[in-house]
């Protein structure tokens, strides 16, 4: 068995989610190859070659693969996939965008967002917003899988010394083009990788009040997240949303401030090790999953918490 892992990269750098996907590949067992596809991917390929446990890196450098347009990248993966037993990618927005296109072209079902590997053909994945766990078996010749990063501890980014091989294949469907990008800038840790996450909901009242969470987060070295209510109300941008349709996080500590705890929000954070809820409504459903609940006005509790930690 040989497994192909699609490298996730951004601005010429390897994204850590790739390390979680390689960890899932190790659980399946077999040789692990990593594909770095993009425009100007030499640094990404070099970083991928250093990942512990990677046997080979394929570098596909072509202008058509810039911005990971699925119409161009998917045919490349399909062409390479035929020699592999599994094709894996992290369930990031890129992985989710590209891999189903690969699966359909290979005429196989995809298994989305696995959280555990039972055997080489059997996997567990959450359904119904995480309220049920399905065990799914695949009979496909090439198993196409996206990996929920919070389900697998990342492998070491250093220690490997894989050979880098150039892939010449050029695919350009010519049906789509990149126009522009608007990326949020933040000095805080990446939400999906942070050890501590502080999230705010509708109870924050307005966007300005999020400053209380930012200063608490800075003291804790935490990332700041939000519920859908806070995003829809325009308090914060939508890439901060934690939940079924936003980001899935599983930090050591998750602090939910002014968040009621709807099913869809819990789907994104209930695998956190320790959950703290600060809410003035003692009936709020968030208290049913919180390890430590504090019934208090967040505008008094948060500044006090910041002072004491």
């Amino acid at each position: 068995m040989t497994i192909l892992v699609i490298a996730e990269h951004d601005k010429g750098a390897l994204v850590p989610a790739t390390l979680n996907a390689v960890a899932a590949a190790q659980k399946i067992g077999g040789d692990i190859h990593v594909l770095a596809a993009g425009a100007g991917v030499s640094a990404v390929a070099e970083a991928a070659a250093k990942i512990a446990g990677v046997a080979k890196v394929l570098a596909a450098d072509n202008a058509a693969y810039a911005h990971q347009l699925p119409e161009n990248v998917a045919p490349l993966i399909v062409e390479l996939a035929k020699g592999y037993s599994h094709v894996l990618a992290a369930a990031t927005s890129n992985g989710k965008n590209i891999l189903p296109r690969v699966a359909a072209q290979l005429d196989v079902d995809q298994i989305s967002e696995i959280v555990s590997v039972e055997s080489a053909d059997t996997f567990k994945r959450p359904i119904y917003a995480g309220n049920a766990i399905a065990t799914v078996q695949s009979s496909a010749a090439v198993k196409v899988i996206t990996v929920r990063t919070t389900g697998f501890d990342p492998v070491a980014a250093e220690g490997g010394s894989a050979a880098v091989e150039t892939v010449a294949a050029a695919h350009n469907a010519g049906t789509s083009s990149f126009v522009s990008e608007e990326l949020a800038t933040s000095d805080r840790p990446e939400l999906t990788e942070a050890r501590v996450v502080v999230s705010g909901g509708r109870g924050m009242g307005n966007g300005d009040n999020f400053k209380h969470l930012y200063s608490l987060a800075d003291k804790l070295g935490a990332a700041v997240g939000a519920s859908r209510a806070a995003v829809d109300a325009g308090f914060v941008p939508n890439d901060m949303q934690v939940g079924q349709t936003g980001k899935i996080v599983a930090p050591q500590l998750y602090v939910a401030v002014g968040i009621s705890g709807a099913i869809q929000h819990l789907a994104g954070m209930k695998d956190s090790k320790v959950i703290v809820a600060i809410n003035k409504d003692e009936e709020a459903p968030i208290f049913q999953v919180a390890d430590y609940g504090l019934v208090a006005d967040l505008f008094e509790a948060v500044p006090e918490l910041e002072k004491l930690v």
């Binding site: 189903p100 359909a104 196989v108 079902d109 083009s177 522009s180 099913i263 609940g293 504090l294």
Partner: protein, 249 residues
Amino acid sequence: MKVLVAIKRVIDYNVKVRVKADGSGVDLANVKMSINPFCEIAVEEAVRLKEQGIASEVVVVCVGLAAAQEQLRTAMALGADRAILVEAADGLGSLAVAKALQGVVEREQPQLIILGKQAIDSDNNQTGQMLAALTGYAQGTFASRLEVAGDTARVTREIDGGLQTVALNLPAIVTTDLRLNEPRYASLPNIMKAKKKPLQTITPQALGVSLTATNTTIRVEAPTARSAGIKVGSVAELVEKLKNEAKVI
């Protein structure tokens, strides 16, 4: 321009699901069913395109049980012109649904196909991308903004780090994210009118598609429950617990 919208009948998003004791699935007997929330957003976007004079006809399609006629009627009450039900078993995989939809696309030849980004039951997030692969069309997934001009669709997509805009040649596939629009409610007169709109039922066989799957669900179980937490009386007590008991700060 003809717009095709695919919808799915799913358990209502507010319902807390119960896993069956025999591990065969979740209990859907006597549970409220609705249009998948992302599909409602897809219907709304198509109807807005019609209101802007860009779309000439909005056709809504569902692959599923006969009971899904109810959701197709709802979509017509929201403004879709006619409906197609591809009658098939419940719980089909995304690839099978994409193949059935491909059959409908070949018949209807729409210029734009809008789907939700994921169904809240299977949480797969695959069908739109798979339909794009089968038809060879370009895809604009997780759309938070859609502009159609001439033979191009400009789609702003929600990505991990922010927003990305791509231009797609038509015909194309778009899947909706939550922030694309705010779906309207069906008014009573429109619900009555929708009963008279055409609803065609066809079989997958008539479309010439096979619905075989390479995935089998062996078991469905409840997730491990979290152990009960405690309520603390003050911020000082909370900090003390986090430091000494949970040891996370």
